[in-house]
């Protein structure tokens, strides 16, 4: 039985996240991986604009706060000047898949040796529940009050599938934080991303399907059920890229 204690890489302060939100779990998983690998002193994290905008308070490694969508570019700047350090970004779906699509795609295409933690909860959380690029067809939100209509609002973007076509992507996996089993799998995937970075193999992205009970208007438990019933079919879990980018 492992000793259940707060990871050192996670600062001992209350977070601002809503009750039942899975950001806390994912923060912890990232921090555990940093602890397990003993790399806190060599890691620089980049947090985005969105719910995790204040993420720089929560991690004990050096942190940067980036403008909306630009985390992969910021991470590129850090990593190129500090190729032996670990650099990760922590981004939501609006940040990564809408305003920051260009930065995401090109950091991936360049094979930047960074790890991207991508939180997909199918909605804009921080600004109050607007439609995200990952909002599902039919899903209601503040800006799709009649349900997302693909004829007018287009279709959700499957980021892992899209990025997996790029030669610069060494690793892309979609995981979820639904139950202990999936949470353990998520941690393994995050660890894999950091290991790929350690071995200078290229760009890694771990997409984590996450809940937003507040903006979905559901209790935390019902939110998990909603994720299973609606998001898993549209965003199948699995490894989408696992390849040698650099020799």
């Amino acid at each position: 039985m492992p000793d259940f204690k707060r990871p050192h890489a996670l600062v001992d302060i209350p977070t601002h996240y809503c009750p039942g939100c899975t950001h806390g779990i994912i923060h912890r998983l990232v921090a555990e991986v940093i602890d397990d690998m003993g790399i806190e002193g060599d890691t620089i994290g980049v947090c985005p604009v969105g719910c995790s905008v204040l993420g720089y308070f929560y991690f004990n490694c050096d942190m940067m706060q980036a403008s909306h969508g630009r985390s992969p570019a910021v991470a590129t700047g850090i990593k190129r000047a500090n190729p032996d350090k670990f650099v990760f970004t922590y981004q939501g779906d609006g940040d990564l898949a809408a305003i920051g699509t260009a930065e995401t795609v090109h950091a991936a295409a360049r094979g930047e040796n960074i790890t991207v933690i991508f939180i997909n909860n199918a909605i804009y959380g921080m600004t109050g529940g607007q439609m995200a690029p990952t909002t599902l067809p039919g899903q209601t939100s503040q800006t799709s009050p009649y349900g997302r209509n693909p004829n007018t609002e287009g279709f959700p973007i499957r980021i892992c599938e899209m990025l997996s076509t790029l030669d610069g992507v060494a690793y892309a996996e979609r995981v979820a934080t639904i139950d202990p089993k999936s949470i353990n799998a998520a941690k393994k995937a995050i660890r894999k991303g950091f290991e790929i970075q350690k071995n200078k193999k290229g760009f890694s992205i771990i997409e984590v399907l996450s809940t937003c009970p507040t903006n979905w208007g559901l209790t935390p438990l019902k939110a998990l059920d909603w994720l299973k019933e609606n998001m898993l079919p549209y965003y199948p879990l699995g490894v989408y890229a696992d390849k040698e980018v650099r020799s």
Binding site: M64, A73, V74, A81, E103
Partner: protein, 352 residues
């Protein structure tokens, strides 16, 4: 000192490398491409040298944010439309107090405008380079040699005051070849104890950030930054000027060269004209302008724009002297005779 012929753009890039700039992030745009090309050729040969052609100007300026935030000396360059795209990032860089150098080799606007030389970004550079309560120092070279000297100065100011610094050149300065010499030495290693480059378990963690949700904290941050602006205003302002002239022609950058020719011709014809050339546009050299205009009856501002520096001249003189304007825009470089004609008109009206 050996002099070699170099384009202003290349001279700027070489000066940056000699100053110790190891990282460059940029995106192609005319008429600054020689800077990007020069960096792509030379930086990879340097130990730790980094060149990245970004996906956009937005990407490039945010790479600068990351690179500068991790304590590395870095630079980006662009031309007018690209600077508009960088604007967001520049504001964040100011908000996080990061040193870096940004070069704007101006072309004509608005919109796609033209690729020909222009000085139409004066307002943008000096008044509105990013959202929020902020300024950045703006240096205005007027020769290939000043592209060299001011690049070194820009890095020094950037690191001393923890601010981005802009070199506001134009297509003429960038594309023109002139003899330059490099007597500058590399800047000393800057203090980077604040940088986010891994705490190595030997110091508290560093955070690079521009977000302050507590108004009191943000106000204090901004006020502290404006204290630094006061120091920059006190110590770093520059201008070159003639004294005692009755007609003072105020011009910066490329236009100042043309104005110099016009003023010299006017003097040869017995007109008491003089040139005032600001080397910093923000902070504007107010005291120097007052000194240059002690004997003046009128000031003629000349620019490659519709007259964007005019307000700064008027305000610096506290509206005590008549200020006239002559400019060309749209990509035209004025010729000395045009300015000379204007000087003569002023001479006549002054005598009348």
């Amino acid at each position: 000192m050996e002099k070699i012929l170099m384009k202003g753009n290349e001279a700027c890039a070489e000066a940056a490398i000699r100053a110790g700039c190891k990282c460059y992030f940029g995106y192609p745009i005319t008429p600054q491409n020689e800077i990007t090309a020069y960096m792509s050729k030379h930086l990879p040969k340097i130990d730790g040298g980094v060149f990245v052609q970004a996906e956009s100007e937005i990407g490039a300026i945010n790479m600068i944010y990351g690179c500068a935030g991790s304590g590395s000396r870095c630079m980006t360059s662009s031309s007018s439309p690209g600077i508009s795209l960088k604007s967001e990032g520049i504001s964040y860089i100011v908000g996080a107090d990061l040193p870096c150098v940004i070069v704007n080799v101006q072309r004509g606007g608005p919109g796609l405008g033209t690729i020909q030389p222009s000085q139409a970004d004066y307002w943008q550079a000096t008044k509105a380079i990013g959202h929020g309560d902020m300024r950045i120092p703006i240096l205005a070279p007027a020769s290939a040699q000043e592209m060299v000297d001011m690049t070194l100065k820009a890095f020094r100011i950037a690191e001393e005051y923890r601010t981005p610094v802009m070199i506001l050149a134009d297509g003429l300065l960038g594309q023109m070849m002139e003899p330059v010499s490099f007597d500058n030495k590399s800047l000393p290693e800057a203090d980077s104890s604040w940088a986010a480059n891994g705490h190595a378990n030997s110091r508290p963690k560093n955070t690079i950030n521009s977000l302050y949700l507590d108004p009191l904290e943000l106000e204090q941050k901004i006020k502290e930054r404006f204290k630094r602006y006061e120091q920059i205003t006190e110590k770093e302002v520059g201008a070159v000027y003639d004294k005692g002239a009755k007609i003072v022609v105020a011009a910066y950058g490329s236009t100042a060269r043309v104005a110099r020719s016009a003023v010299d011709k006017a003097r040869a014809e017995g007109i008491n004209a003089g040139l005032f050339r600001p080397q910093t546009l923000w902070p504007f050299p107010k005291k120097q302008l007052i000194e240059a205009t002690e004997n003046a009856k009128v000031v003629l501002v000349t620019e490659m724009s519709m007259g964007q520096m005019v307000d700064d001249v008027k305000m610096s003189l506290e509206f005590k002297l008549p200020v006239q304007f002559f400019g060309r825009t749209g990509g035209f470089v004025p010729n000395p005779d045009e300015i000379l004609t204007k000087i003569k008109e002023l001479e006549v009206s002054d005598n009348a």
